[in-house]
Amino acid sequence: MSETTEVIGTPKIHPSSREILPDDPLEMHGLEVRGDPELMLRMLVEEYARIGWGLDQIMQLAGDPNYSAFHGLSQALGKDELRRRIGNILSRCGVIRVRAVEAAATTEYLVQIDKPAK
């Protein structure tokens, strides 16, 4: 039996390798607005430190591609370099800790549902 490599129908092309069409309504036309990655890193780390996150917790974010900011910085700088930089920032800004206590539920308003009412 001979094998055939003939493609039948429309060839499947992954969207990422498809040509851009000028009239594609979802195509992005971006403008550059320059920013500073170092400033972004410092401020993000300070922000997490304000809610009590330490070095290991922040580095966990960097390892997760779903958290694109830190993950992207991790890819751009390298994991060890990012860890070093975050450590340096935390050594200055510290990690703020807070203790929250919520008022207990007022039981007089709760309805007991497992006992039939008399």
């Binding site: 390798s17 320059r34 401020m43 800790r97």
Partner: protein, 431 residues
């Protein structure tokens, strides 16, 4: 059109209806500095309100990655371009002319969406508020360009479209969580030809009367934030209702004491970026002085939270603490001229501001009032100011106490001594 006063732009402006104000106003502060874009708020809203047929495209709450994301796509860039077209090079602020109550950010001398509709009608036909109807394609992808900061090299290999050609764009982006702003002068309300949209007098929530709506979609066109959405199965428009049963304390499970509770999206926020409440409004539309209300304190007293695109002229009641790392010109366009002051205050908060910031998502009941019990100094930390320079911030063992509508204490949050992790390479000789 009648004239109304808009304190956010510091002047009177045209509006299709005469000026009237509710007794209380639903308002909220979001802190994009902390938002991680987890979309928990989005799913909380979606699972509560917009789950049935005909609502597939509708997300009353969404989180978009700025500068490129948007739902519908490019909603803000498109309207900014239309305003610029109506008033070329005239969309400016006179930021020096300030008044703490009537014009805290200065005076916007350009055209609002109502001014532009009145003075520069579009060739498509007259409008009550300048706007456009997004195409179906623009609604199709709520999270389009999520996490997009730069060109290809920064994207996750193979996960996002490699054909997206973006300019080399140094790493910055931020997540902008959005719901209906329940504006003081809503574009949707002003545009509705059926008078089917109204503001509730008790809390300023903007609602659509479904029995009057005929689905003309003028509200979708007229809302500059595109938060009114058309549902094809019912041929009516729908929008965020601010979870009003929770605001009214009517849910016995959530509010056993009938105390007003925060909306679903607020309550679900894991990043603690949201604080929502009600502020008392005077008859002339200004906020009644109430400095112990956390929203009043953050928005009016300290001006650390700013309205989203105040130049549109709808006086939105959603406020944002501007993200600190984003280029200033971009932020000024988005939040007005108050950005420098807001970021300066937020970067190095004093003890009262730091305490009030702890109230974000501390409890699901709406906090109407706070008190602070002052403690002793527990440390100093170094923070980065907007110019990149370091500044020392003092920390105090202060406790902020939040009270609900019934003046019952619902939460207390205490700032404790900070911990420091020293970098190991600086101490290679230590034992």
């Amino acid at each position: 059109m009648p004239m109304v006063h808009n304190w956010q732009i510091g002047r009177d402006m045209s509006y299709p209806h005469a000026e009237r104000h509710p007794q209380w106003q639903f308002a909220f502060v979001f802190n994009p500095n902390r938002c991680i874009g987890c979309q928990t708020c989005t799913m909380a809203c979606k699972s509560t309100w917009t789950f049935s047929r005909g609502q597939e495209l509708m997300w009353w709450n969404n989180v978009e990655s700025k500068p490129y994301g948007g739902y519908p796509q490019h909603w803000d860039a498109k309207l900014l371009a239309m305003l610029e077209e109506a008033n070329p090079s005239g969309q400016l602020w006179e930021a020096a002319e300030k008044d703490a109550v009537k014009k805290p950010y200065g005076v916007f001398t350009g055209m609002t969406i109502f001014d532009a509709a009145e003075k520069k009608p579009r060739p498509e036909g007259p409008q009550q508020a300048l706007g456009y109807l997004p195409a179906d394609e623009e609604w199709r992808s709520p999270n389009i360009y999520e996490d997009t900061a730069t060109g290809n090299h920064f994207q996750l290999a193979g996960q996002f479209g490699g054909n997206v050609q973006l300019p080399e764009h140094k790493v910055w982006f931020f997540y902008l969580a959005r719901i209906c702003n329940h504006c003081t002068y809503p574009g949707c309300l002003g545009s509705c030809p059926r008078n089917a949209i109204y503001k509730r007098p008790e809390d300023g929530v903007v609602l659509i009367d479904e029995s009057r709506c005929r689905g003309y979609r003028k509200c979708v066109e007229g809302c500059p934030y595109k938060k009114s959405m058309y549902r094809p199965t019912t041929h009516t428009s729908e929008k965020c209702i601010a979870c009003f049963p929770r605001l009214e304390g009517k849910d016995p499970t959530i509010s056993p004491t009938s105390a007003p509770a925060e909306t679903r999206c607020m309550s679900a926020c894991v990043g603690k970026i949201r604080l929502q409440g009600l502020v008392k409004v005077d008859q002339d539309g200004t906020w009644a002085k109430d400095p112990k209300n956390p929203l009043y304190y953050l928005i009016r007293e300290r001006q650390v939270a700013l309205p989203l695109y105040p130049q549109f002229g709808t006086e939105p009641n959603g406020y944002y603490i501007p993200p600190r790392w984003v280029p200033r010109a971009y932020l000024t366009q988005m939040f007005g001229p108050g950005v420098d002051r807001a970021i300066g205050q937020y970067s190095c908060p004093d003890r009262e501001l730091l305490a009030v910031l702890q109230l974000f998502r501390a409890n699901r009941q709406i906090i109407y009032r706070y008190e602070i019990e002052q403690g002793k100094k527990v440390g100093e930390i170094e923070v980065t100011m907007p110019d990149g320079k370091a500044k020392t911030q003092e920390l105090f063992n202060d406790t902020v106490i939040g009270y609900n509508q019934r003046n019952e204490e619902v939460v207390r949050v205490t700032v404790e001594e900070p911990t420091f992790e020293r970098p190991t390479e600086a101490h290679v000789n230590s034992i």
